[in-house]
Symmetry: C2
Subunit: 134 residues, 2 copies
């Protein structure tokens, strides 16, 4: 037995409203759950992107029926979305149109392309061809 | 256009050797890339789990052909692996046999079950039924 898929990927942001604008409006991800001041969650295909305010998730759950463990990281994290080479070009256009700086864009030694930007919290957000790992 | 899948999920660990033992030997994930002192990467179905030492990834790339942006978070992050209810029971047995404490295990209001442990770096590692988000 080994995990067959990652269900939840987490990044952290103190300004959840700014994160929501980025992931919902610029990237187009549907919001599937939201608790003001704590988190906003987005559907990404078969998985979920969780954006948490670490100041909230560091506080132990007060609900004995839902003893969700604490967590909360500080500093820039990283997430990468799957995209075809054609889509990466379209992401470059859309992100640039939204005044988001392209931090890097290059081909890896195996030929797969990656494009990187920052979300409003400073997390490194990548778009990459899945063959990067094939 | 919206991202259809998350390709890479990242957590951070200063002790990469301990992280490798946990994710490779206890969880059974195949190692697909490794750079001593910087990272170890694991395949998880269609995606990849990246474990980075933030002290290394905070340092800018010295390679002009691969200007990989810096990142690096500190403090406990979070990742969740998909698992059926039956598999969650088997994970409980395997993790307990490996002397890893079960931090929490409960059913969410929609009936989906979650089990939580810590990786050696303190990241919150969850196993959950995908219907949690359906």
């Amino acid at each position: 037995m080994t995990p067959r898929a990652i269900l939840e990927t987490a990044v952290y942001a103190a300004d959840l409203a700014a994160a929501e604008v980025f992931y919902r409006d610029v990237l187009g991800l549907p919001v599937i759950a939201k608790v003001a001041g704590r988190h906003v969650f987005f559907r990404v295909g078969p998985g979920v992107l969780l954006v948490f305010d670490p100041a909230a998730t560091e506080v132990p759950s007060g609900n004995p029926d839902l003893p969700v463990p604490t967590h909360g990281a500080r500093g820039p994290g990283h997430v990468c979305f799957a995209a075809s080479r054609d889509e990466i070009g379209r992401w470059r256009e859309r992100l640039t149109a939204a005044s988001i700086e392209i931090e890097a864009e290059f081909d890896w030694p195996n030929g797969a392309r990656s494009l990187y930007v920052r979300d409003p919290a400073g997390n490194s957000v990548e778009f990459a061809e899945p063959r990067l790992w094939s």
